[in-house]
């Protein structure tokens, strides 16, 4: 591929800086995509931490000095603030086959994670969100997420009997009414993924809505992707970065579409990339636990980022009111 891009020595980018949330996801990014990219091009990549991509990107653009080029984002962020992001050059990326939602004008899919139902190994397994809220047939304590309505409105509507293909546009009033009527069943509203994992594996709660990666390989907790709400996390590019840096970033993005590289990533984290060729390389165990394996994709609902981009602000306010009255 190297001949497509300006080689070393031609006004090539000196460095690519990626602002991302770190942790295991950062480690996976480093091993799976940064290393092969730097090996091919000789361009170093630096990972720096980020708390809120939109806020920090806005501040950086106001200051006028671009010192970070690639951002860890949700698609809804990009759709609501397109003026902050550069158009991607998909001809230059020349992606290997990836799922269609991963190919956006201003963002490229990085990995999927899902909001799923999990249960303590001692509790009776469940299959649907309706059962998650059915404390008669499935007695026990429940936990949900405290800080966001994101994906939880979908969960409420599915539990209330809305068919998956009729979810969007979300009936927000119905979702909040359902949560209001069922909130007494929730013992803990967790504040972080690690807390969620801790309480469901230790048996403090019997059932939890949780990020799939937190329990994927757990022996103390069971989980299913049935009716899971799956979200694709994206990378996007700073508006107005230097052309040679942009060219390097496009080349880096190509690395993210190679199935073999995505396979390296899932050895570090239980969140899988959008390559169509990845599934063939997985073990049976990986197909069972990863959110974007063919078998798990079929069971889940892809979150509608366009809908969330339009409605997020109003729902955030309403969620705060809901939470304050728990």
């Amino acid at each position: 591929m190297a001949h497509v891009f300006p080689g070393k020595g031609h006004a090539a980018a000196t460095e690519v800086v990626i602002a991302q949330s770190g942790g295991q996801a950062g480690e996976a990014l480093e091993k799976a995509y940064v290393q092969p990219f730097t090996a091919k091009t000789g361009i170093p990549v630096r990972l720096v931490g980020v708390e809120s991509s939109i806020g920090e990107l806005k501040a950086m653009l106001q200051s006028g000095a671009i010192d970070r080029h690639v951002w860890d984002v949700e698609l809804a962020d990009v759709l609501s603030a397109p003026e902050l992001f550069e158009d991607l050059d998909w001809d230059a990326i020349k992606p290997e086959p990836i799922f269609p939602e991963a190919r956006q004008p201003k963002a490229i899919g990085r990995h999927y994670y899902s909001y799923v139902m999990a249960w303590n190994a001692k509790a009776k397994p469940i299959e649907t969100w309706a059962q998650f809220f059915d404390t008669e047939k499935f007695p026990g304590r429940r936990a949900m997420m405290s800080y966001d309505a994101y994906a939880q409105l979908e969960v409420a509507l599915l539990a209330d009997g809305v068919p998956a293909d009729k979810l969007y546009p979300l009936d927000v009033d119905r979702a909040f009414a359902f949560l209001e009527a069922n909130k007494h069943k929730i013992s803990v509203w967790w504040d972080s993924g690690s807390q969620a994992a801790q309480i469901v594996t230790s048996g403090e709660v019997d059932y939890a809505l949780i990020y799939s990666g937190r329990v994927a390989y757990s022996k103390e907790a069971g989980m299913t992707y049935n009716q899971g709400i799956t979200v694709l996390n994206y990378l996007a590019v700073t508006k107005g970065l230097a052309p040679e840096t942009k060219a390097a970033v496009m080349q880096f993005f190509h690395e993210m579409t190679i199935p073999k590289n995505e396979l390296t990533a899932v050895a570090t984290i239980a969140y899988s990339g959008p390559s169509e060729g990845l599934d063939a390389l997985l073990t049976d165990e990986q197909r069972r636990v990863l959110p974007s394996s063919a078998q798990n994709r079929a069971k889940q609902i892809l979150i509608n980022s366009e809908w969330w981009a339009r409605n997020r602000a109003a729902i955030d306010k309403r969620w705060t009111e809901f939470r304050a009255a728990l």
Partner: protein, 286 residues
């Protein structure tokens, strides 16, 4: 008063030196308190419709008002509970032999070296659904299903009071030790009962310290963030947690900053009010 006059007499000849010596402190406070607070105030006034739009939003939201009221109520409960326990504890320590005193004081200082998060989390194995208390109660057959001892306002008060206990006990111990034992002995020799000595001599002497301890605990408790988050089970939304939600999770700097300023004003008023009510001489003068 006398002491202040003497010290200012000392300072008079060399005012420049005094300014120079205090400059680092003033600069430090300026940089760590005044500037950030100014920044928060600035953010709070950057409303979209008009400068006070963020304040209007915050005060018009039932959730915000509810959260502020809950935080105030829990703050008052925590400060009274903590100070009461610390008061009784300090009375007990006062009468211990010197060696035992050192051990008792050491025991309350020790938890300072353990993080707030760990101290909050360590209640889970004790009060949790599968915790010690529930397991004992269930094995003795007293209850059939575990009690919700945790993830409620009670657990938040308990956890916060537990963490703030040393902060209340240390100043009280210091104040108790300053009480002139000869006054108590004199009262006793004049025939006063122990209850009368406590009520008419000891308590009036330590009352100002007790009040300022209560106020200090209130000020710290209303800013507590980790303990309510862990022990409230997400159901006890307090002001610091709401500010975190607004600023960190959502990037709503404006409303978060406005809420911060509103809280600051409310707390300051509460503290001033408590000091006025608790100080009869000042109340009479004003």
């Amino acid at each position: 008063m006398a002491r202040r006059q003497i010290s200012s007499g000392f300072d008079m000849p060399d005012n420049k030196a005094s300014v120079a010596l205090n400059a680092p402190l003033v600069l430090f406070l300026l940089l760590t308190i005044v500037v950030p607070l100014g920044g928060i105030f600035f953010f709070s006034l950057a409303g979209e419709a008009h400068p006070f739009a963020n304040y209007a939003d915050a005060l018009a939201s039932p959730a915000f008002v509810r959260v502020v009221v809950t935080t105030l109520i829990l703050g008052v409960i925590v400060s009274i509970v903590t100070t009461t326990f610390a008061f009784v504890f300090s009375l007990w320590v006062l009468r211990l032999p010197p060696r035992a005193k050192i051990i008792a004081v050491g025991a309350i200082i020790l938890p300072f070296f353990v993080s707030y998060l760990l101290r909050a989390l360590s209640w889970i194995p004790v009060l949790g659904f599968n915790g010690l208390v529930n397991r004992i109660l269930m094995s003795t057959g007293l209850i059939e299903t575990p009690l919700s001892l945790i993830y409620n306002p009670f657990a938040v008060v308990l956890g916060t009071a537990n963490v703030l206990f040393p902060i209340a006990a240390l100043p009280l111990l210091a104040a108790f030790h300053k009480v002139d034992q000869r006054l108590l002995a004199a009262a006793s020799s004049l025939g006063a009962s122990r209850a009368v000595i406590f009520r008419r001599i000891f308590f009036p002497l330590v009352a100002p310290a007790t009040l300022s301890t209560t106020v200090m605990v209130f000020a710290v408790a209303t800013g507590f963030y980790i303990t309510p988050s862990v022990l409230g089970g997400g159901k006890v939304l307090l002001a610091p947690n709401l500010i975190e939600l607004l600023i960190h999770r959502r990037g709503e700097w404006g409303t978060g900053a406005a809420l911060t300023i509103v809280l600051l004003v409310v707390y300051m008023s509460a503290i001033v009010l408590a000091r006025r009510l608790g100080n009869p001489s000042r109340r009479r003068r004003s």
